[in-house]
């Protein structure tokens, strides 16, 4: 479906009658598929048409000077290639190509920064990974844990899919075992000893709601809905049903009651998502 005024009206009008363009209910998630790769920590997640690949890797490093007893946790997000948010915004035709590109690029870049910052906030500030368990010897040697999130196909709602991918990848990952006897530390390769899982404190799930005129809410917006929405709110819930993160940056102002409604729905759906992640990892 193209992005034009007629389609925008169509999306809005059908929402008023309680229908979504792709036939879902307003609080339905799209189909979720979590594919575990052959290697530890390699996961591909498909949420509707959105595809994300996440890969966890680990290496030895010196700890940061201000945190000598903590491992280093890095999240790197990649939007390049077909996963770029600009796709579809490029207007065809040689004359308008450059002109349309610059603004679309600017907007996409800001959106990309917002998504990667949120991913980082949810995974880091809520202590998903116990970084202290990544320390081998204080001030000397720690593990540097790195999650690479690659967005492959953009079908709306990158953030939720990205969180699912990153969390599944972290839970699926196994690191080499380390044994410390006195002064000597031995790191066993994967062939020598069975690798050990990371210590994961809790599993968060993020749920994004898009809202339209008259505060009509939909969960898990598709590409089209994301283009036509008046604003969005993302809520991250962890496995203890606590709020991890809320982000509503601008957009049309909404009633406080709408926020509460979103939270109630998010808690229910988060349980479902966390169960889905757990059962996929079994």
């Amino acid at each position: 479906m193209e992005l034009n005024a007629n389609n925008q009206k169509f999306v809005n009008e059908s929402l008023k009658k309680g229908f979504r363009v792709d036939g879902r209910g307003i609080y339905d998630l799209r189909n979720l598929k979590i594919d575990l790769g052959n290697q530890y920590g390699s996961v591909e997640v498909q949420l509707g048409e959105t595809r994300v690949h996440a890969k966890t890797s680990i290496e030895l490093a010196r700890p940061l000077p201000d945190r000598p007893s903590e491992g280093i946790f890095i999240i790197s997000v990649d939007f390049s290639g077909p996963g770029s948010l600009q796709q579809g915004e490029k207007v065809s035709g040689p004359a308008s190509g450059v002109a349309a590109g610059s603004d679309a690029e600017g907007r996409a870049a800001a959106q990309e920064v917002a998504i990667s910052r949120l991913l980082e906030k949810i995974l880091k500030s809520t202590r998903v990974v116990d970084v202290e368990s990544l320390c081998i010897s204080v001030g000397e040697q720690v593990w540097r844990l790195r999650v690479d999130v690659h967005f492959l196909d953009y079908g709306g709602n990158y953030l939720d899919a990205g969180i699912i991918a990153a969390v599944s990848s972290l839970s699926h990952f196994r690191r080499p075992e380390v044994l410390k006897v006195g002064e000597t530390t031995t790191i066993y390769s994967v062939e020598e000893r069975a690798p050990v899982p990371l210590s994961i404190n809790n599993i968060p799930a993020c749920l994004t709601f898009a809202y339209f005129e008259n505060e009509l809410l939909v969960l898990d917006p598709s590409y089209l809905e994301e283009k036509f929405m008046s604003g969005s709110i993302s809520i991250a819930i962890n496995s203890n049903s606590e709020l991890c993160c809320i982000s509503k940056a601008g957009g049309i102002a909404i009633e406080p009651d709408t926020v509460n409604l979103c939270i109630v729905v998010a808690i229910e759906k988060a349980k479902f998502l966390i169960d889905a992640i757990r059962s996929a990892l079994k």
Binding site: R117, E242, C245, A253
Partner: protein, 243 residues
């Protein structure tokens, strides 16, 4: 731990739980802008300059139905203990600029200025917690000073929990402590609707409502400060043009 005195219930800087830091603000502080404001909340100091509405510099960036906002957020190298220059393309700066842009996009009546742009330059001079909220308040003042029509005041505040009790207007020390849930909220004063809501770090669901309630009263106080500043500056403008 962060509470200064258990007995008196005072915070690390001697405030009570629902007490804000001192707010000093002034509009029309820079001559060569269309609107400007200086906003100080405790030790967080912000200067905002507005250029526009004017013809869009890049025609590609202009929109035929409404105004284009361009927000630049600059952190002064001397703004914090760490003397480091942050570029305006730093990811945290871009994030704050985007939040402010998206907040004001729907408050400014943009349909009045199609094909134009409004530039908002925000300079963070000194930071001591609550940067985003102070930026929003300062931008709101500067936009009013520039005479740009808006539907309502946007007032922002941050709030959180310190030692299990809700606190308003966290400073940097309180913000930096890891377990402090930190909420930044911006509301439209007349309708009470929420423009921006950000929560970082974990918070039990039933603890959200009390802190939001507290934040709203804080926003109302900030509104009264902003409003009296605007009225004063308008009055002095009227006084200066009497013939």
């Amino acid at each position: 731990m962060l509470i200064f005195s258990e007995y008196l219930g005072l915070r690390i800087d001697g405030r009570r739980a629902n007490e804000l830091r001192k707010i000093t603000c002034k509009t029309n502080v820079i001559d060569y802008t269309d609107g400007s404001a200086y906003f100080e909340q405790g030790n967080t100091k912000i200067l905002v300059g507005i250029l526009g509405p004017r013809e869009a510099k890049q025609r590609s960036a202009s929109q035929t139905t409404q105004v284009t906002l361009n927000v630049e957020f600059l952190v002064s190298p001397f703004s914090s203990v760490e003397r480091k220059k942050r570029s305006k393309y730093d990811r945290r700066s871009v994030e704050i600029a985007t939040s402010i842009k998206q907040t004001f996009e729907h408050v400014i009546i943009g349909q009045l200025f199609p094909r134009s742009q409004i530039d908002i330059f925000i300079h963070l001079l000194q930071q001591d917690g609550g940067v985003l909220e102070a930026c929003i308040n300062a931008t709101c003042l500067a936009l009013i000073d520039a005479g740009i029509p808006m539907t309502d005041y946007v007032c922002a505040i941050n709030a959180g929990y310190v030692d299990d009790s809700p606190m308003l207007d966290l400073n940097m020390v309180e913000e930096a402590s890891f377990d402090t849930p930190n909420i930044t909220i911006a509301v439209l004063i007349r309708s009470g609707k929420i423009c921006l809501l950000q929560l970082e770090s974990t918070l039990a669901v039933d603890l959200l409502a009390p802190v939001l309630e507290l934040a709203k009263t804080g926003c109302k106080y900030i509104h009264s400060v902003l409003d009296s500043t605007i009225k004063e500056s308008t009055q002095s403008m009227i006084n200066s043009v009497t013939l």
